[in-house]
């Protein structure tokens, strides 16, 4: 206690922030029970139950406009559900969920006035870490994730794939146990997207987190996730939950052409088509 009062205000802030955020390595589970959500008169989520173990990777696939992004915002605590419960690491309150989850939006939303490294280090800066220290910590990850040399580049000077990497690093550096990724590679061309899927699989292998991945690319979901929830059109419900046969295997291209993988993919496609009706 006495030592606490001697700490400079900034150091106390950081200590408090990291105490509130459980270390990412320990992981956090997600539990969704009897979830229902309405937007005014419009019922967007009918009934949803989902469980995700710590360090599990869950894919959410469904038709466009079915409310996947809303579900993601509900999970991370940016919105409160109309009915039912969402718990992240056993905590139900929105503020608690928010403190456990980092969110990567659909567009990379890199701030154009900041360099790549300052964008990646935003979470540290928000917690009161000094600029030099925040940059030093982000720089280590830049090297690890193949972005070395681009620290000072402005986002406009980066390729689409690199921008996505910086946006993902920004989410990762927040040090939260849960990552919520909203169609992270939707804007990329097919080749870059395949590369980025492999890259993300490797990244999660090196630094495991609990991940909720929203996508409308079934192949992407089945390759990156342990299990995939196939969602219906609005009002949303879970049509089926599939186990992925070869989650995050080291060779993506071999994995996605594997007969077992293709069978599950065709099955998922079939379910999705059903959901459209």
């Amino acid at each position: 206690m006495r030592q606490d009062t001697k700490m400079p205000a900034e150091a106390r802030e950081i200590a408090a922030a990291s105490a509130a955020n459980k270390p990412a390595e320990e992981g956090a589970g997600i539990s969704i029970r009897h979830l229902g959500h309405s937007y005014g008169e419009l019922e967007t989520i009918e009934q949803l139950d989902l469980e995700l173990a710590p360090h599990g990777v869950l894919g959410l696939v469904g038709p466009s406009g079915c409310g996947k992004s809303t579900l993601l915002e509900l999970i991370v605590g940016l919105q409160e559900p109309s009915r039912g419960e969402i718990e992240v690491d056993g905590e139900g309150a929105g503020v608690e969920r928010l403190s456990h989850c980092a969110f990567m939006p659909q567009r990379d939303l890199l701030l154009p006035w900041l360099s790549a490294i300052d964008n990646a280090a935003l979470a540290l800066r928000n917690r009161g870490v000094r600029r030099a220290e925040a940059r030093a910590r982000a720089a280590q990850l830049f090297e690890r994730f193949g972005l070395a040399g681009f620290e000072r580049a402005k986002p406009t000077a980066l390729s689409g794939g690199m921008r996505q990497r910086v946006a993902f690093l920004r989410t990762l550096i927040a040090g939260k146990p849960v990552l919520a990724l909203d169609e992270p590679f939707a804007s990329l061309d097919a080749i870059t997207r395949a590369e980025m899927q492999q890259w993300l699989a490797d990244a999660l292998g090196a630094d495991p987190r609990t991940v909720v991945l929203v996508t409308h690319d079934i192949e992407e979901a089945l390759y990156l996730c342990d299990s995939v929830a196939v969602l219906s059109a609005r009002p949303m419900r879970v049509i089926a939950q599939l186990r992925a046969p070869a989650a995050r295997r080291t060779n993506r291209d071999e994995t996605v052409t594997d007969p077992a993988f293709v069978t599950v993919r065709e099955h998922a496609m079939h379910l999705l088509r059903e959901g459209f009706r």
Partner: protein
């Protein structure tokens, strides 16, 4: 090349036509005036040189009024925009008043300001501030409101406080529009200063213009207008330069 060459050519052509029309007496005849009332560009240039000390003294007075007024307008305009952006109550309270302040004709307001604030620099600076704060406040407010709501959500999940979202996302987003307002403000600042001087001043370019008008010193009148216009354009160029230096990401 085109940005400089074409306006310069147009200016030279206009000046040449004016010179020809004025020095031949054609323009005066057309207007039914004595030729000394219609000075040619060369005569204006001559007057500019002969009266250079007088013009410089008065220009300095007007420049000070404009700069003081612009400083007030910047401080009040930006502060008001931030307060209105952050608080719905402030926005709803000040919005009608802010618009009302622009509907009062400045020619009506200026004499009252002279009665209240005397004959010094202040009534002129206040008139300048009154006409200049509006474009700054309105544009800055619009700029702050144009920040991407998705970016704010992203920042919230990265543990940003309201203040950090304001500083790291909304303020930089608003900068280009703030500069739009500032550029509008610097070009209308001389109008405010001249109006302020017209209702009560013993120096300044506006005062000189009024005197020259009464004494039929038309060449010097045009010279004073020229100096005023060049000052405004210089301020505009400085603002544009500041924008290019600060808003590097566009």
């Amino acid at each position: 090349m085109r940005r400089w060459l074409l306006p310069t050519l147009l200016l030279i052509a206009l000046l040449a036509a004016w010179q020809l029309a004025a020095s031949s007496g054609a323009l005066a005849d057309l207007l039914g005036l004595e030729s000394f009332l219609v000075p040619s560009p060369a005569e204006i240039g001559e007057s500019l040189w002969q009266s250079r000390n007088l013009l410089a003294e008065n220009a300095w007075v007007t420049l000070q009024e404009m700069l003081l007024g612009l400083a007030i307008a910047l401080a009040v305009g930006v502060a008001l925009a931030f307060l209105m952006h952050l608080s719905g109550i402030v926005r709803d309270t000040f919005n009608p008043l802010m618009i009302a302040s622009q509907t009062v004709p400045i020619l009506v307001l200026a004499p009252i300001l002279v009665i209240w604030l005397g004959f010094g620099i202040w009534p002129k600076a206040v008139v300048v501030a009154l006409v200049c704060f509006f474009p700054i406040a309105v544009n800055t407010l619009a700029g702050l409101g144009s920040a991407d709501p998705e970016a704010a959500k992203m920042m919230r999940t990265l543990d940003a406080s309201r203040r950090q979202i304001l500083w790291r996302v909304e303020t930089p987003t608003a900068l280009p529009q703030f500069f739009t307002g500032a550029r509008l403000a610097v070009v209308i600042a001389p109008i405010g200063a001249v109006f302020g001087e017209w209702v009560g001043a013993s120096s300044g370019l506006g005062h000189l213009i009024l005197q020259d008008n009464a004494q039929l010193e038309t060449a010097r009148l045009f010279a004073a207008v020229l100096v005023l216009s060049v000052m405004a354009m210089a301020l505009f160029a400085l603002t544009a330069l500041a924008q290019r230096r600060i808003v590097t990401w566009r």
